[in-house]
């Protein structure tokens, strides 16, 4: 039996979610219509509202309900520091660390040379405009520690360094509280290559 048109449309629509194939899309649709009709209404409304209200911040490219997000307009933040992240989720993680009081710029992902993804596809122009405000003096590269993230960081350090900015990169190594026994060998190997001198007592 083919499901009715509206149900079929819903199943098809759910498949845009990451990792959702035809089977799980069907299960979700039945769940919503059969047992969660109230929740389904909430989902539909909040999706519609978010699509209308949420835009990308003109300064940091992150999600915002105002043209300039609250973080970018906060007087509590240090406007001389700009931290570059690959995704809004990375920004959330850094915020949770409470270690950073500067501003952010969210790239549209990362360079991926083997997939043909270059500078124009990651929002480089907007970044160049952002760092030329005369206030930013340090750029913190928080790109991921994948090879693509490293290639992106290398590219940005060359491009932005040439503009006279101080460029820093997050350190990598063994996680805090991490017992070596449970850390993957790649991380331990790199922590060895990147080991540093301790200051004399």
């Amino acid at each position: 039996m083919t499901p009715p048109g509206a149900l079929n449309d819903l199943i098809e629509a759910l498949r845009i979610l990451p990792g959702v194939g035809p089977k799980s899309a069907q299960r979700m649709a039945y769940q919503l219509l059969q047992h969660e009709r109230g929740g389904a209404v909430r989902l539909a409304r909040s999706l519609e509202r978010a699509l209308q209200a949420v835009v990308r911040c003109q300064r940091c490219n992150g999600f915002s309900e105002t043209p300039i997000c609250s973080l970018c307009s906060s007087p509590q933040r240090n406007p001389a520091q700009l931290c570059i992240v690959e995704t809004p989720a990375d920004q959330v993680m850094i915020e949770q660390s409470l270690a950073y009081r500067g501003l952010y710029f969210v790239l549209l992902g990362r360079l991926s040379p083997l997939d043909g993804i270059g500078p124009s596809e990651i929002g480089l122009e907007a970044l160049l405009k952002r760092v030329s405000d005369g206030v930013v003096s340090e750029v913190v590269l928080a790109n991921n520690f994948t090879h693509e993230g490293e290639a992106t960081a290398h590219f940005l350090s060359e491009t932005l360094g040439a503009r006279g900015l101080r460029i820093t990169r997050l350190a990598r190594g063994v996680p805090v509280g991490g017992e070596l026994e449970f850390v993957d060998p790649g991380t331990i190997a790199q922590a060895f290559y990147d080991r540093r001198d301790l200051p004399p007592a």
Binding site: L114, G118, H147, F155, D184, P185
Partner: protein
Amino acid sequence: MAGALRESQRVDHEPAYVLHSWPYSETSLIIDVYTARHGRLPLLARGARRPRAALRGVLEAFQPLSIGWSGRGEVRTLQKAEWVGGLPRPAGRALWCGFYINELMMRLAVRDDPHESLFGSYAEAISQLAHGTDPEPTLRLFEKRLLAALGYGLVLDAEGGSRRPLEEGSLYTYDPERGPIRAEAGQAAEYLVSGATLRAIEAEQFGDRQVLAQAKALMRQVIAYRLDGRPLRVNQVWREVLDVV
């Protein structure tokens, strides 16, 4: 059924490098690997993208691994991947050269067609890039050995067709199918390569600046020919990068 079982493959402790990977479903990866005895093949790495997966940080490009897989059909299933180690991660320009080498492998090395000598050449090139030596001689040596291993070896000992010996001081064009062709005096060509350079490439001596420059132009042309004129993505992105920097 028995036939299908016979085709099923089980391989263990195979030296390998990951060339590239793509996300597959919610938590898995498809990896393209080059192995010592089985050549290049795609593998499904189940659950490799889970936050605490043991394979996270192991299935990385530019690192020697020892892997095992099983299954049949085009995409077999990775069962095990062990860190062999010993290499820093290539950084900066060397990292981009690593991407270039990996794309060459993915575009030119046919699947399930092993060349143990190519595996060795690849491993040597990656090790040199990781240790930060000048990447240009590394790339030229790898290109020469890659072409030879895949049956596209350059003719470097005599003129193509006539088989006349090469003269060190003479200039040549290079026909990808035939080999070096003696250039006419004043001939306009995309590039010319001297007999001395061709001899140096044959001897794998890339220490001289002029040899390096001529070898680069020669390799670029021959590789473009082997790629049927479809450009490498890494080169396109790199050119875009150079425009900005």
